[in-house]
């Protein structure tokens, strides 16, 4: 590549893998630092869902609600996480979409599989993630993250992990 670009796909993959690791290691405060101050985090109830405003979601958090959600995960009185959930996740099939070199923003599509274990029960989650990333001050920030679970429309037991 002749021109100096804001980011390479390797840098973005490294970022996604690091993010996945923070979640598996339950380092929620560090994970929150990856998000910009007006970021949103969204797990729709259907892959056809167009917006989080006129339809219920599995999760739709603005920055404020995301902070509260993470603070609860670190609260010692959280019954649903006692004992804590263990996860192991694989991120793959990373592709870049809608690259805007001028503003240094990019949409990144990836697939994921997570094995979750808690209280002698194991579950598998899988689906597609769309990261809306911006690059500034030499760092990536998540401006928005949409996670489409393959079983989003299914009947599930309580979910306390983040995707």
């Amino acid at each position: 590549m002749d021109k100096k670009t804001c980011f390479t796909i390797q840098e973005i993959e490294t970022f996604l893998f690091m993010e996945a690791r923070l979640l598996d290691e339950r380092r929620y405060s560090d994970w929150l630092k990856l998000f910009s101050l007006t970021a949103w985090y969204w797990v729709p109830i259907s892959k056809e869902q167009e917006n989080p405003y006129d339809h219920v979601s599995i999760i739709y958090d603005d920055r404020k609600l995301l902070e509260t959600r993470l603070r609860r995960l670190n609260n010692k009185n959280i019954h649903a996480e006692n004992p804590p959930t263990q996860t192991s996740r694989i991120i793959g099939n990373v592709t870049l979409e809608n690259i805007d070199e001028t503003s240094c923003i990019v949409d990144v599509s990836s697939q994921f599989q997570i094995v979750e274990f808690r209280g002698n029960r194991q579950r598998i989650f899988a689906g597609k993630i769309m990261h809306h990333l911006s690059f500034n001050r030499n760092k990536f920030f998540i401006d928005g993250k949409r996670i489409d679970l393959v079983n989003a429309e299914g009947m599930m037991e309580g979910i306390t992990i983040l995707f």
Binding site: L37, T38, W40, V43, I45, S46, Q49, P52, Y53, D54, H55, V56, S57, I58, I59, Y60, D61, D62, R63, K64, L65, L66, E67, T68, R69, R71, R72, N75, K76, N77, I78, H79, A80, E153, G154, M155, M156, E157, G158, I159, T160
Partner: protein, 434 residues
């Protein structure tokens, strides 16, 4: 087994939550007899529309016929018994079975049989109800809320609901346009525990400060200057509300219990935004629409009602002022499905519906920071009840301090009473011992 011995004043035997034989008895004597919520008419607005659900673990379908009438049918082919309609909802003029192609109209009549030769001895005739999709014995609607009973005899829906209809009225009357519509998708979750637990929990004023401690503390420590598009604003407020002290529940919250097992918790929120949304940017537009439709006095009266959860035993729990409804479906003695629906008030600003959705995400979403602690609690009850040593579960809080407000309607001492649980089990016993 003598069922009468399982319910006593102030306590129930743990088997009512654990025994698969009792669950079978419940399906037969309670869920196949009582009025069971099927759906709201707005889920099938046009001819050909259908919505599939279950009554007593049996597949049923609510349909809108070409003549605009609503029908509730068993979702089963009159030929070999396959479930005819597999999508949860949709529109079709004709229901065709996947197995041998028998087809039915929206009211369940058999209208076509491919390769009809050979059935002569079987007397299969087009239009014969014996070979149709069977109509459930009774179905009725209260202002758009459709209920069905698998029993051909029994009290009317009006008698069954009694004055708990005021909660339905509260929900509908809030609409400036005079009607409500189910919209915004379905929030689903499953818990490992008996179906009765959620009815107990939804009018239990004592539990939030224990069960929801993690989300209460997280919300209390939230910096309010952080960016919110509305989601966090409603969500954090709701979590904080769960933390009101027990003294508030004793002094300011009421609990009422009704014939046929219904109940509601009232006067819960003193938060203006959540009760009547007077501080919301859209409130002015909503209020003026309501005032225009109903007149000022009526509008004020409508907005002054503050009911929290209304339980309609044994299938739904709804929040009239927050426009939410949960359908509780028992799957087995220790597995229960819950479906959450939202209502749009006709004639209300769009922003108000967005708040309804935000509220649903906090109260009914499977990953809600509030709900997940309830689900964990049901799971622990299921496991804990297996323990021997004491066969009895206490339901006696506030016992002996109830007052009769109107015929058959009891008001508890305060919002921390277990009146609704005792009332539910009295009614439960009368169904099961018949």
């Amino acid at each position: 087994m003598n069922i009468d011995q399982l319910v006593e004043a102030g306590r129930v035997h743990r088997r009512v939550y654990l025994d698969p034989d009792i669950f079978d008895l419940e399906l037969k004597k309670l869920f196949s007899v009582a009025w069971i919520y099927v759906g709201h008419e707005s889920q099938v607005p046009n001819p050909g529309d259908y919505y599939c659900t279950e009554i007593a673990c049996q597949p049923v379908i609510m349909t809108r016929n070409v003549d605009n009438s609503i029908h509730v049918l068993f979702n089963r082919c009159g030929h070999r018994g396959a479930k005819v309609v597999s999508d949860e909802s949709g529109n079709s003029d004709i229901f065709t079975c996947c197995y041998h192609g028998w087809s039915y109209s929206n009211d369940g009549k058999l209208i076509a049989v491919p390769q009809p030769r050979g059935y002569e001895k079987n007397s299969v005739k087009i239009g014969d109800p014996a070979f149709g999709m069977a109509v459930v014995p009774r179905f009725e609607s209260y202002r758009g809320f459709v209920f069905a009973s698998l029993s051909p005899t029994g009290p009317s829906l009006n008698k069954f609901l009694g004055s708990i209809t005021k909660s339905f009225d509260d929900l509908i009357d809030r609409a400036p346009g005079g009607d409500i519509v189910v919209q915004g998708g379905v929030a689903r979750h499953l818990y490992r525990g008996n179906w009765k637990l959620i009815f107990e929990n939804l009018c239990d004023g004592l539990h939030p400060n224990c069960v929801h401690k993690s989300s209460i503390e997280a919300a209390e420590n939230q910096d309010d200057s952080v960016f919110s598009d509305g989601a966090g604003e409603i969500g954090v407020r709701q979590m904080r509300q769960n933390g009101v002290p027990w003294s508030f529940w004793e002094e300011s919250v009421g609990l009422w219990a009704f014939p046929y097992g219904h109940s509601y918790l009232g006067d819960y929120h003193d938060d203006e935004k959540l009760i009547i949304e007077r501080k919301n940017p859209f409130f002015k537009a909503y209020y003026s629409a309501l005032k225009k439709a109903k007149g000022k006095n009526k509008a004020e009266k409508i907005l002054s009602i503050a009911r929290w959860n209304t339980n309609v035993f044994p299938t739904i729990s709804f929040m009239s002022q927050f426009r939410q409804l949960r359908v509780i479906r028992p799957l087995s003695v220790d597995k229960t499905e819950v479906l959450g629906f939202c209502f749009r008030l006709k004639g209300a600003p769009e922003a108000m519906f967005h708040d309804t959705i935000r509220f649903a995400n906090i109260t009914n979403a499977v990953a809600s920071p509030v709900l997940t602690d309830d689900l964990e609690t049901y799971d622990r009850i299921r496991r804990g009840l297996e323990a021997q040593g004491n066969d009895w579960i206490s339901t006696g809080r506030g016992m002996g301090k109830d007052t009769e407000e109107e015929r058959g309607v009891l008001r508890a001492e305060n919002g921390l009473s277990e009146l609704h649980i005792r009332n539910m089990f009295n009614v439960w016993l009368s169904y099961l011992s018949k």
